[in-house]
C-alpha cells in the first residue's frame, strides 16, 4: 500500500496549492468479531479494550486484528449512568465511556466506577460507594510513601491511612484505556484528608495513585440529569466532609473571641469595683442568747450595688446556722438569707481529712443606698452544749461578682461543645469503617464494646 501511494504522485502540485485536508477527529466504529454487532469507540487511539454493547464480549482493539479477549453472549447490564451520557463537572463536559463494578475480597461489598472522557482533558473516574460519590483523577506525579506509610504529605496536606484491601473487577462495560479483565485483583490503600482522598492501586503491571474529591449526590444528579433512583446513602464515607466542616473552626474562633471579651469585661469590673467594708464586728453569742435575735448597729450603704455578707466562726467538728435579714432603716425593706457554717476534721486510715469550712459568704445583688441593720437568729451546736459561739461578721459592698462571668462562659461554650461532640460522633462513625482508626476513636470504641 505504501508503494502504490509512492507511485501515485499528485499531477500538478504547486507551492501555492493548499495541502490536503487533515481528517477531523471522530468516534470510530468497528464490527464485533464475536456477534458482528457495531462497537463505537469514543477515545480513539487511546482505548485498547472495548466491550460489545450487544453481546458483552471484551475485544482487544490495540491493533486492527480485533481479538476477542473474553467471549460472552448476554445483554449489557443497565447502570445508573449509561454509556454515552454526558455531564458537566468542575466546568468540563465529560462523557461516560466505561463502567466497572468492583467488589472487595469477600465479594459481599461492591461499588461502581464510571470512566469519564473528554478529548481535551483526558480521563476521570466517578465512583459510587454506599450512596456516596467521588470525582477522581489519576495523578501523574510521584507520591512518595503511597501504599506504605501510615501518613502521606501531599500538596502540603496530611493524608491519614484509612483502608487497605483488595479490589476485584466483577463486571465491565464500555471502553477502557487499559486491559480490563473480570476477576482481576488490585491491592488498594486509601488515605484521607476530607473532602479529598488519595488512593493507591497496585497490580502485577502497574502502580497508580489517584486523587478523589467527595461530591454531593445533587451535583451528580444535576450534572448528568440522572433520572433513575440514586443509591441510598449509608454511613459516613471515608472522605466525606463533616456537615459542619466549613464553619466548625469559625464557630470556635467566634466563641474564643466572645470569651476574650467576657474576660476583659470581668477584669475591668474587678478593677473599678469599690469593694469596701461597710460593717465589721466580732460577736460573742452566749448560750443565754440562744433564742434571741441579734441586731447589729446601723451602717450606711452609700451607693446602690451588691452586698456581701461574710461570717466566720473558729469551730471544729461543729456547726452554726444563721437566719439573717438585712433591713433598711427607713423603708423596712428586707433581704432574707440563711447561712450555715460547718467544719469537721479527723484522721482516718493514716490520712487527715477535713470537711466544710469555717466561714460562709452570701451575695445580695442590687441593694439600694441607705442605712441598714442586720438581724440574725443563731442556732449552733455549741449553744446546745451551753458554750458560747464566736462569730466574726463582715459586710462589704460593690464586690466584684464572678457568677455572671461563669454563666456567660458556659453560654458561650455550650453550643461549640455540643458541635464538638457531634463532630466527634461523626468522626467516630467514619473511622469505625477504617483499618487504622486514630487512638481517640479506637479506645472509646473498645470501651463501648466491652460495655455491651
Amino acid at each position: 500500500m505504501d508503494e502504490s501511494m509512492h507511485d501515485k504522485q499528485p499531477p500538478s502540485v504547486t507551492a501555492a496549492s493548499p495541502p490536503p485536508e487533515k481528517p477531523k477527529g471522530k468516534p470510530k466504529t468497528l464490527k464485533c468479531p464475536a456477534c458482528a454487532g457495531t462497537i463505537t469507540v469514543k477515545a480513539v487511539g487511546i482505548t485498547i479494550n472495548a466491550v460489545c454493547s450487544s453481546c458483552s464480549s471484551v475485544i482487544d482493539i490495540t491493533n486492527e486484528n480485533y481479538q476477542i479477549i473474553e467471549k460472552a453472549n448476554q445483554n449489557t447490564r443497565k447502570t445508573l449512568l449509561d454509556i454515552g451520557c454526558r455531564g458537566r463537572l468542575s466546568g468540563v463536559e465529560w462523557e461516560v465511556i466505561g463502567y466497572i463494578e468492583k467488589t472487595d475480597a469477600s465479594g459481599k461489598y461492591n461499588w461502581d466506577e464510571y470512566l469519564l472522557y473528554n478529548p481535551y482533558y483526558g480521563f476521570r473516574f466517578l465512583v459510587q460507594d454506599s450512596g456516596h460519590w467521588n470525582f477522581v483523577k489519576v495523578l501523574r506525579q510521584d507520591v512518595p510513601g503511597a501504599g506504605i506509610s501510615s501518613e502521606i504529605l501531599f500538596e502540603g496536606q496530611k493524608f491519614a491511612r484509612f483502608l487497605t484491601g483488595e479490589a476485584i473487577v466483577s463486571y465491565v462495560k464500555g471502553e477502557f484505556y487499559w486491559r480490563v479483565k473480570k476477576g482481576e485483583r488490585t491491592f488498594v490503600a486509601d488515605y484521607i484528608a476530607p473532602p479529598r482522598m488519595l488512593s493507591f492501586e497496585k497490580n502485577d503491571q502497574e502502580i497508580s495513585v489517584s486523587l478523589g474529591e467527595y461530591i454531593e449526590n445533587d451535583v451528580v444528579v444535576d450534572a448528568f440529569a440522572v433520572k433513575g433512583k440514586m443509591p441510598y446513602k449509608t454511613g459516613v464515607a471515608p472522605n466525606q466532609p463533616a456537615p459542619d466542616q466549613a464553619w466548625f473552626g469559625k464557630l470556635w474562633r467566634v466563641a474564643a473571641t466572645a470569651f476574650a471579651i467576657v474576660l476583659a469585661v470581668q477584669f475591668t469590673t474587678c478593677a473599678i469595683a469599690d469593694n469596701t467594708e461597710v460593717y465589721h464586728e466580732q460577736i460573742e453569742v452566749s448560750p443565754q442568747q440562744k433564742d434571741q435575735t441579734i441586731t447589729t448597729a446601723s451602717f450606711n450603704i452609700p451607693k446602690a450595688g451588691n452586698v456581701l455578707i461574710q461570717s466566720s466562726s473558729p469551730i471544729q467538728n461543729d456547726w452554726v446556722e444563721l437566719d439573717m435579714s438585712l433591713v433598711n432603716d427607713r423603708t423596712n425593706e428586707q433581704y432574707e438569707l440563711k447561712q450555715a457554717i460547718e467544719y469537721y476534721q479527723g484522721h482516718d486510715g493514716g490520712e487527715d481529712w477535713t470537711e466544710g469550712s469555717t466561714s460562709a459568704n452570701t451575695y445580695i445583688s442590687r441593694v439600694p443606698a441607705g442605712s441598714y441593720r442586720l438581724l440574725m437568729d443563731m442556732d449552733a451546736g455549741a449553744l446546745m452544749r451551753n458554750s458560747p459561739v464566736f462569730l466574726s461578721l463582715t459586710i462589704m459592698r460593690d464586690v466584684p461578682a464572678w457568677s455572671n462571668f461563669w454563666l456567660a462562659t458556659v453560654s458561650i461554650f455550650i453550643y461549640p461543645l455540643y458541635t464538638l461532640l457531634k463532630r466527634w460522633r461523626f468522626e467516630k462513625t467514619r473511622w469505625s469503617e477504617s483499618d487504622f482508626p486514630p487512638a481517640i476513636y479506637r479506645i472509646l470504641e473498645q470501651e463501648e464494646e466491652d460495655a455491651s
Partner: protein, 231 residues
Amino acid sequence: MKKYNCPSCGAEVTFQSSLSVYAVCLYCRSMIVRHDVDVESIGTMASLPDDMSPLQIGTEGFYQGRSFSIIGRMKIGWEDGAWNEWFLYMGDGEKAWLAEAQGSYAISREIEQPATRDTERALGGWIAAFESKETKGFDDTAAGPELGSSIMIENQQLRVVDIRRTICLGSEGELPFAAPRGRETLSVDLSGSNGEFCCIEIMDGKKRTYLGNYVEWDEMRCQNLRTLEGW
C-alpha cells in the same frame, strides 16, 4: 525557515526549525531527510492510525510563559496502546517535545548531562539489555534500575514508573531525526513528586534524556486545534 522541493512530487517542503533534519511531505507522504545542501527521500510514510487528539501540526500554545508551535509528530506504539510525541518549535528557537498519552500532557526538553556517574552506570544496564534483544519483552529486573526505584537526574529525585519497548507507528511534519515506521526504542518514564516528567530513550546503544513537567490542558492555552466531531 528553509524551503525545499519534495524529491518525489516536487511540492514545497519547509523546515521551520533549523534543528529539524527530517520531514514528511504533506502531499505525497515522502519521508525527506535534509543534508547540507539538498534533500533526499527515504521512502513513503503510511497514514497514521486514527485518534481523537485535539492537537495537530500548526497548533500553538504556551509552556512556562513561552510560546510554542507544533511542527511534527511521532506516533509511538507499545504492547498496550499508543501515544503521540509532538515536536515543538519554541519561541526561543529551541526544540521541545509534548508527550500526549492517555489524556495527559507532558512537555520536556533534551538535556545533555543528566545524571551522576552512578546513575549513568545503572542506565548502562538498560542499554545493554535493550541491545541484546534476546527477549521480546523487557526484563527490567535483570537490567538497570527497576520499576519503582528512584534515581537522581539533574539533582532531582525521580521514580521509574514505566519501562517499555516502543515502536514508531508513523510520523508527520518535521522532526529532529528520521522517524520511519518500525523505529524501535526502549522508553523509560520517570516522575517526580512536584510533577516533574522525565523520559530516557534508548536506541542504537545511545540514550537521550528529556526532562520537563506534566502540564494541564488549560495551562497550555492552545489555539488552532483540530476539529473533533461531537466536542
